[in-house]
């Protein structure tokens, strides 16, 4: 049973503060009056609304469909009426608003018709992926990447190992812990479906050793379900073990290549909660409309885990979950190491809301005074990516982004270990995010500039080509005109001479002789001759005209 484990470099032992929120069994939140469902709760393109204001929707009904490949649909998490489709503040580090579908619930919580698939083995992987995609399942560990994409290895690689991430290394957060304790079979069922979709040889569930109850529950369920290809593995508690690359290293000894994906080394990693929701989507036909959320911190009166409908406003949820202590606190989404602060509690719970941390001064003390970097290297010692954070900081600060990239800025996973140990209290991660954003912006600008330059160059090329073509045409035309005009002048000269002669004759009053006293018969003869001439003349002109037309 003891499996060989490896180590990842760096990392920290942090006070985990998890026991705080595991004392109570998970609760179920009530249906809020309004659900605020953002169209983008995942990495990728926002979903496209399928409903209009005023529509009645049922629980589990798709409200918006995915737009493009990297996208995910969103569903109604209870029944009601679409009240509005408008911008609403959403939980995001930027604190900005984004389009949301707002539903006034009717309290009936009536399900739409569901389409369960009792035997996943009957489905081929691509059918499974479609079901998972249509269920709106995204990575529930925090990243929110559409899960079906990570279940699509393509034809290029065979997947050796599916890893389920139950490490949950961030302090305070216990939603995965509680899920594994209370709904271990769901995780295992999900793991089996995922393994089938990936055709993976084995599945490992990594659980940190500060969660013995979760490990026991999973092992119990495994014994019960009796699937030899799935194994629960206890890993040492060390932040950031729950990082995808770190957990893969611990369990397999392999390193995900820089700028690469786990799939490049035949590994796929999903969160345990994602697995549970895959089970619900396939076996029960339920889309992702709720999740376990940890409500904790010294600001929370009764720290606990709650199953919350996606779109539930945080303020009401907190009130329901025992309320808030009076001591001043900040509201964080996620853990203290990688979470971000929310401006207010009017925001909704979304698919990636794993934890609401009501951080009092005890949980998140005021930072000491910031000082200059003394290059002590404490940051490099704890960096799980083996970077030199002190050097990257130096260059990011100096806005020397090329140098920052030379020192592999983009291998930084923003785990925050460096900033945690920095004796100078520098907000290092903030500098790295700043540098990354600036570099992305520069690249966008560069791409735009490249495109503009390409367009300009093509325009110049096209103008030149047209100019040349026009010139060539002119030349050809001029040549043709010259040829034509030679003949024309001749003809014109003859005609002019003839006309001149005629005019002369008319002017001189010269008429043919002996035409005054003619007999009737003679006149008749002359008229006939005139007619013939005229006819011949007409014929001649028309043939010339035809000839000319042909020449044209």
């Amino acid at each position: 049973m003891s499996r060989k484990l490896w180590h990842f470099p760096g990392g920290l032992h942090l006070p985990d503060n998890k026991a705080m929120s595991t004392g109570r069994p998970s609760g179920q939140s009530a249906i809020p009056q309004r659900l605020i469902i953002p169209l983008q709760q995942h990495i990728g393109a926002p979903a496209k609304p399928l409903v209009a204001v005023g529509d009645r929707v049922l629980k589990g009904e798709m409200l918006a469909k995915p737009e493009g490949y990297v996208s995910a649909p969103v569903h109604a998490s209870s029944s009601g009426t679409v009240l509005a489709i408008e911008e609403h503040p959403v939980p995001h580090p930027s604190g900005l608003s984004a389009p949301c579908i707002i539903i006034e619930t009717d309290g009936e919580d009536r399900w739409a018709e569901l389409a369960p698939h009792p035997d996943y083995r009957q489905l081929d992987p691509s059918e499974l992926r479609n079901i998972i995609r249509d269920a709106g399942i995204v990575g529930l560990g925090g990243a929110g990447f559409p899960a079906f994409i990570k279940l699509n290895p393509g034809s290029r690689v065979a997947i050796d190992t599916l890893i389920l991430n139950g490490a949950e290394c961030e302090p305070y957060i216990t939603c995965d812990d509680m899920l594994m304790r209370e709904r271990a079979e769901e995780v295992i069922y999900g793991a089996r479906i995922m393994r089938h979709a990936l055709q993976a040889k084995q599945c490992l569930i990594g659980i940190e050793d500060n969660k013995p109850e979760a490990l026991a529950a999973i092992q119990d369920a495994l014994a019960h379900i009796d699937d030899k290809s799935i194994e629960a593995v206890q890993v040492p508690t060390r932040y950031p073990t729950g990082g995808e690359k770190q957990l893969i290293k611990i369990l397999t000894g392999k390193e995900v290549p820089s700028q690469g994906l786990p799939i490049d080394i035949g590994i796929v990693c999903h969160n345990v909660a994602t697995a549970a929701s895959v089970h619900r989507a396939v076996d029960l036909g339920e889309p992702l409309i709720s999740r376990l959320v940890t409500i904790t911190g010294h600001g929370a009166a009764e720290p606990q885990n709650v199953e919350v409908r996606i779109g539930t406003p945080i303020a009401g949820l907190l009130e329901q979950a025992g309320g808030v202590n009076t001591a001043p606190h900040r509201l964080l989404m996620g853990g203290p190491m990688m979470g971000f602060e929310l401006k207010n509690a009017e925001l909704p719970v979304i698919k990636t809301t794993n934890c609401l941390l009501l951080a009092s001064a005890e949980d998140s003390p005021e930072r000491g005074p910031g000082r200059a970097c003394i290059r002590c290297g404490a940051c490099a010692e704890v960096c799980p990516a083996l970077l030199l954070p002190q050097q990257i900081y130096w260059y990011a600060r100096a806005k020397d982004f090329d140098k920052a990239q030379d020192y592999n800025l983009f291998d930084c996973i923003e785990c925050g270990c460096c900033a945690y140990v920095c004796p100078s209290n520098l907000p290092l991660v903030q500098y790295y995010r700043f540098a990354k954003t600036e570099i992305w912006a520069q690249e966008r600008d560069k791409k735009a500039a490249d495109k503009a330059r390409e367009r300009h160059e093509f325009r110049v090329f096209r103008q030149d080509r047209e100019k040349e073509e026009r010139a060539a045409k002119h030349k050809a035309k001029a040549k043709a005109v010259k040829k034509n005009s030679d003949e024309d002048t001749k003809k014109a000269a003859i005609q002019a001479a003839m006309e001149r002669a005629k005019a002369k004759r008319e002017a001189a009053g010269i008429e043919p002789k002996n035409t005054e006293n003619l007999t009737e018969a003679q006149r008749q003869q002359i008229a006939e001759a005139e007619e013939r001439r005229q006819a011949m003349k007409d014929q001649n002109t028309s043939s010339t005209a035809k000839k000319e037309a042909n020449e044209e």
Partner: protein, 344 residues
């Protein structure tokens, strides 16, 4: 970059620059006590003068630069510079010598570059070298350690000498001073004496110079304390002491009469101070572990070269400054392999 909300992480460990600096100061105390015990009250006067001048000159420049004075003084780095320089100066240095060295170190070598974190050279060593070059006589007038000295020097006597240059009731400083062991070694080796003849003198003890070896031993102890508290990493001290040991050992093996032994090198002059307290200065040294090995090895080797063939009896200060210059280059070539990148 004034983000509306503070960025993650929202928690911070117990590390602080001021804690680091205070531990370094603390680690120097045993050696300072022994130094005072052996070489008299002058050491205490050096420390007091150096500390006062360091804090005052740092405060002055901060005020001129319009930076927070008290918050910056509280980081403790000026005090460390003062202590390091005070322990490196002759035990009976005139007040102006200490003042000049410390003021130069703090004002020119540290604050004019931008203060803590921005100085390319170790400020204490800059101060020391400036004094050594400008005032060679004063800088080499070392008191003899207590047991080798004729007559004691009272606290009042030390004060009088340091501030006025007069030694009450005595003929002169000469009766109290002597050349340092490193100096003696260098001069006498230059006179073609063999090592055995030289070390027979009472100036030399078991490992290094009489008295000196005790001070160096206590500095080693302080250094081990810093290692234990993880204030410094082992890379620089180990690399520096081993390269000094290996270089001196090799030449000692080749010609034991003409080259002092490796233990003498390790326990004389500024070797221990340099290895644990000076070359480990993170600001002016190399930053990666591999870089620190190269940095330390360079300091050790240069120290041996300067001591053996250079113009000065000790070379730690010069070696550290030379390696400070090389640090950015070392950093550039010793970047560690990043996770997920190919090995080698």
């Amino acid at each position: 970059m004034s983000a509306v909300l503070p960025s993650s992480p929202h928690v911070h460990g117990p590390n602080a620059v001021s804690k680091v600096m205070h531990q370094v100061s603390l680690a120097l105390i045993p050696a300072l006590i022994a130094y005072t015990w052996l070489f008299g009250w002058g050491v205490v006067l050096n420390v007091l003068i150096a500390a006062t001048v360091a804090l005052a000159s740092e405060a002055l420049v901060l005020k001129l630069r319009d930076r927070p004075v008290m918050a910056t003084l509280a980081d403790g780095s000026a005090l460390v510079t003062a202590l390091l320089l005070a322990i490196a100066l002759p035990p009976l240095a005139p007040w102006w010598l200490t003042t000049l060295g410390v003021a130069f170190a703090i004002i020119l070598a540290k604050q004019l570059y931008g203060g803590l974190g921005y100085n390319p050279f170790n400020p204490a060593m800059i101060g020391y070298v400036v004094l050594l070059i400008s005032f060679p006589l004063e800088m080499t007038s070392w008191l003899a350690p207590g047991e080798l000295r004729e007559g004691a020097l009272s606290f009042a006597g030390a004060v009088s000498y340091v501030f006025t240059g007069n030694l009450p009731g005595m003929t002169g400083l000469d009766s109290l001073t002597m050349a340092t062991p490193l100096d003696t070694m260098k001069t006498q080796l230059g006179l073609e004496l063999t090592l055995n003849e030289i070390t027979a003198s009472s100036v030399f003890g078991e490992l290094g110079g009489t008295g000196w070896e005790v001070v160096n031993g206590l500095i080693l102890l302080g250094g081990l304390f810093l290692l234990f508290r993880r204030i410094i990493s082992w890379h620089v001290p180990v690399a520096m002491l081993s390269s000094l040991f290996l270089a001196s050992g090799l030449f000692h093996l080749i010609n034991p009469d003409h080259y002092a032994g490796p233990l003498f090198h390790l326990f004389s002059g500024g070797a221990m101070l340099g290895a644990f307290f000076i070359a480990t200065d993170p600001v002016s040294g190399a930053t990666s572990d591999k870089g620190r090995l190269w940095f330390g090895a360079g300091v050790g080797l240069l120290t041996f070269i300067i001591r053996t063939w250079g113009g000065y009896p000790d070379g730690v200060a010069f070696s550290v400054l030379l390696m400070n210059m090389a640090a950015p280059t070392i950093d550039y070539y010793t970047q560690p392999r990043v996770f997920g990148h190919k090995r080698g």
